[in-house]
Structures are given as C-alpha cells and as structure tokens.
C-alpha cells in the first residue's frame, strides 16, 4: 500500500475520532467525569439518520441534520434526567450511571434496528487518485464535513457570547458563576453541542463503513485516548490527539517492526514483524498507557492525570 494511501486513511480516521473526542474532553472538563455513554451518541445519531433517510425516504443530508439535532436533544435529556441529579454524588457515580446509560442505549438501538449491519443508500461515488492514493468522493465529503464542523465549533467558542461563557465555565466554574454566567444553561448547551458533534461523527463513520450496534462502544477507547493524548479539557488538543492517534493506528500496522524490536540490528531477527490487524484496537490502548505514564497532561497542556 502506498504511503499516501495510509496518510489519507489516517486523516479520515482522525477526523471521525476528533468529533467525538471534542465532546468527551469538554464534558470531562466541565462536569468532571468520563462520559462512557459518549460513543452511544454517535450510534444514536447514525441510526436516527438511517431511520429518516432509508425508512422515511428523506434526503440523506436532511435526515442527517434531523438526526444530529435529535441526538443533541438526547444529550440534553440525559443531563436533565440523570447526570444533573447525580452531580452531588461525585464523579464515580456519574461514571457508573454513564455506563448504565450506555448499555441501555446500545441495546435499545439493537432492540429497534436489530444486530445486523446496515448502510446508508449512497452510491460508491467518484474515485479520485493522486500520488498513488485513492479517495472516493464519500471520503472527501467526510473530511470536508468533519473539518467544517470543527471550524464551526471553533467559531462558536471564540466569536459568540455563549462560546465565551463556555470557555469561562470550562476554566473555572466558581469564577464563571461570580461573573454572572448562568452555568446551568451553559452545561445544557455543552450537552447539546457535544451530543450533536458525536452524532456527526457517528454518521460519518456510518458513511465510511457500516452501521452496527457496537460501533459506539468500539470507538470509545480510541476517543478517550485521543482526548487524553491531546490534554483533557482542551478541544484543540482533542482534535490534534485524534489525528495523531489516526496516524499511529494506521502506520503502526503498516510499519515493519523488525528494526525496532532488534534495536537497530543488535539482536539478529530474521523474520519481518508486523502488528497483526486483529490488534488494531490494542494500539490505542498502548498509546493511552504510554501517555498516562509519561505525559499525563497530554501533548497540549491539559489537566494532569493524577
């Protein structure tokens, strides 16, 4: 496989992960808990879009938009009915509740839509090739949508009053309260935005590959890894972390590790050593452990892990 192709695949993976990692990092920073149900927002968004486009026959873009808004509302509802009420009991309880919610949502999707993989009705599209890499128009679309979503989030953070309030709350809740920011309202907004971003991520994954009930849970660990890698609490770091992880995942499988394992020829190893593709998931785990041991504050400065 040409290197350019791996770069393209890495960027696609990174842009999908980034949309979820932003949400995880924001929620962690403001509400102080790891949201284990975040992957399920991606799942819900993807299946909502499937319902409106395939079952009801709407245009895919319109269906995606409805799905994104609906998932944002689900996020707001989970805050209203579960997380807001449990906030007094500490991060541990919130985390366990999120795990319970994740089981309920995932199996809810499985109850309604079944366990079989589904796909959107999009054609294969045109195939462009440059420098030996092949990109379908769908894949280009994925990168563009992801980039636009991130740009929109950036503008929201820096160009609007609500974004300012969000940054203030993220920095220091008591100070934000003292300056007259309605923190409750900001939290509701954060849930909506994070839910919607995750939904976009889920729909993009669905366009890229398939939809199946485990897709949200399967992406959870890489997303956490990306968020921690970039420095928890820093949305830009989360995007960077997601990209880095995308590259590490794809190049980790591509690289011949013989030279590394033999320490540059000190040990004599004859056969070529590759990471088996079955262990792709393990790469993000390895990165996660390495980051937590050596640099718990992440690449860009975030909160520390201890």
């Amino acid at each position: 496989m040409p290197v350019t192709q791996i770069v393209v695949n890495s960027v696609i993976r990174g842009s999908e992960l980034a949309l979820l990692a932003i949400g995880v990092t924001m929620i962690f920073n403001i509400l102080k808990f790891a949201n284990f149900a975040h992957g399920e927002f991606a799942l819900l968004g993807a299946y909502f879009a499937l319902f409106f486009s395939v079952t009801l026959g709407l245009n895919l873009y319109l269906a995606a938009l409805i799905g994104i808004v609906l998932t944002g509302l689900v996020g707001v509802c989970t805050n209203e009915f579960i997380f807001k009420r449990l906030r007094g009991m500490g991060g541990l309880t919130l985390m366990i509740a999120a795990m319970g919610l994740s089981i309920a949502l995932r199996n809810g999707v499985r109850t309604v839509w079944g366990a079989d993989p589904k796909r959107y009705q999009i054609g294969l599209g045109k195939c462009f090739s440059f420098w030996g890499a092949r990109v379908t128009s769908t894949q280009l679309l994925i990168m563009v949508i992801s980039g636009l979503s991130m740009l929109a989030f950036h503008l929201l953070l820096h160009r609007t009053k609500f974004g300012k309030a969000m940054r203030a709350t993220s920095d220091n809740i008591p100070l934000a309260l003292a300056s007259g920011i309605n923190v409750e309202k900001v939290i509701v907004g954060v849930w909506f935005i994070c839910g919607s971003l995750a939904a976009i991520g889920g729909i993009l994954i669905g366009m890229d590959t398939l939809l199946w009930p485990e897709m949200g849970f399967g992406i959870l660990l890489p997303v956490f890894c990306a968020a921690i890698l970039g420095g928890i609490g820093n949305p830009y770091g989360a995007v960077l972390g997601a990209m880095v992880l995308g590259f590490v995942e794809h190049f980790g499988l591509f690289v011949n590790w013989t030279n590394v394992i033999s320490l540059g020829g000190i040990f004599n190893i004859q056969r070529e050593i590759y990471i088996p593709t079955g262990y792709k998931y393990a790469i993000s785990f390895g990165v996660l452990i390495a980051v937590l041991i050596f640099r718990p504050s992440g690449i860009l400065k975030g909160q520390k892990g201890d």
Binding site: L92, A97, N107, G278
Partner: protein, 308 residues
Amino acid sequence: MELMNFLIYLVTMMSIYGILALGLNFHYGHAGLVNFGHVAFFCVGAYASTLVTMAGAPFLVGVLAALISGALLGFLISLPTSKLSVHYWAICTLGAGEIIRLIALNEEWLTQGAFGIPGISQPLKSIVPAVIYPVFYLILVFIFLGIVYLLTELLVRSPFGRVLKAIREEDNLPLAMGKNVFRFRIKALSIGAAFAGLAGGLYAHYITYISPLDFMPIVTFLVWAMVIIGGKGNNLGSLVGAMVIVIFYNSTRFLKDYIPISADTLASLRMVVIGILMILVLLFMNQGLVREKKRVYRIPGEKPDAGS
C-alpha cells in the same frame, strides 16, 4: 426433572456470578476502584484453569492457577495505573478487558481462537454418578463461594480493610497517616481480581466449553449491575444482586413463550431493562437493596448523632 436441572443450573450460575460480584464489590464497594474490565480476570482465570488441567493437572491445581493468574493480571494492570485518578483508571481497565479478549481471540496456538476449547475436564467425573453430578458441582461451587465470602468479610473487617475504606472516601487522610495508598490500591485490585479468576476457573469446568464469546464486555456490565443493585460496600448485597440479575437474565428463556417477539430482540430488551434499573437505583436508592453497614466510632459519653 428438567425444571430441577434448570434450577440447579441457575443456582450454580448465581454462585459463580456471586464470586465475581464479591470481587468487584471488593474493588468498588470497599476500595473505591472503578473497574470496567472485570471480565478480563474472569477470562484469564477460565483459560488458565482450562490449559493447566488439559496439561494433566488435577482440578484443584487448575482452580489455583485461575486464582493466581487473576491476581497476577490485576497486579499487572494496577502497576502503571495505580497513581492515576479514578476516571483514567476506569478507562484503562475498560481497555484491558478488551485486550485480554483480543488475545484470547487472536493467539490461536494458545487458546484455539474463535473456535474455543471444548471438552474441559470436570472434577471426579468418573466417580460421581452422572445423575447427581450437577448437584455435586453445585456443592463444590458453594464451598468456594463460602470461602470467598468469609475471606472478604474477614478482609473488610481487618485493619487492611479499614485503610481501604479510608482510601475509598479520599486519599489525603490515609496518606497523612503514613499509608502507602498506591500499594493498597494494587493489593486491593489483585485480591478482587483473584476472586474473579477463581470464578473463571469454576465457570470453565462447569460449562466444559469456553470461547472468547463467553467473555464479552457484557459480563462486566452484568456484574456491575449486581453490585450497584445489590448494594455497594456490602458483601451480602453483592450476593443478593447476583441472585436478582441471574434470575432476571435467565427468565427471558420462559418469557419468549408468552411474549410474541423474537429471542434476539428479547435479549437486547433485557439489557435495556438492566441498564435502566442501574440508573434508577443510582438515582433513587443509592444504597441498593442491602445497605452498607457503617460503623460509627464515638468518643465515650458523647451523644449519638441523628442519622448514620
């Protein structure tokens, strides 16, 4: 007779899950460690016991191997993560649970991969008559459950257990008293993991067939539901939780005759119910079915406070 066999199966599974729940309760209820990869220890224990007995070792050695391998994995996982905050710890254990399953799936030379290992030996199979064998095995599991239960009760009441409870509440007090919090965490995770490993061994020799499909993350969720619904921090609660969840989980077997939906949908639906139940318990009944008995230490002569 068939009903009788099913009941025996149910009670055996309850006891095996009871041991698992006691292990997780030791982690979360007593030491405050959020372990989302409990199934990893269960899996390692099951494979360890299977492989050791297949190599010719007797049942008890296999079970011992399960115990030790669980503890060892717990030790390995907690070594790099013991200094992290609970959230990072939870994420790491979740990952570890998946990695262990991937290893079981991919390392075919050791585990026979997705095909699984059939024909796992059962203890005293040739001596005990086949008719009463399930009862015999149930008694065997009961004995182990009893030992684990007594052991956890003793541990919880020992000075070691009291330090764990102090760590559960917050780090600074035990640190100020000169306790090495990290070492206590590592020990706590290893002990609970050893119990889970033991449960894995008992499971493997009971079902006599294991494959990576037996060790999906869903096992971890079920055990979490048991601990939360049964009542965290109370060993009896974990057993009650195991009873409730195992009965509910298996009841769909009968419900499918009365409710006109497919077995697959019903299987998903019961997990929805368990998830919602967990959240409801957290919201409205935070102590679970059986409350934790908290001992209150007072200065002699002081008036007892209201509440707790």
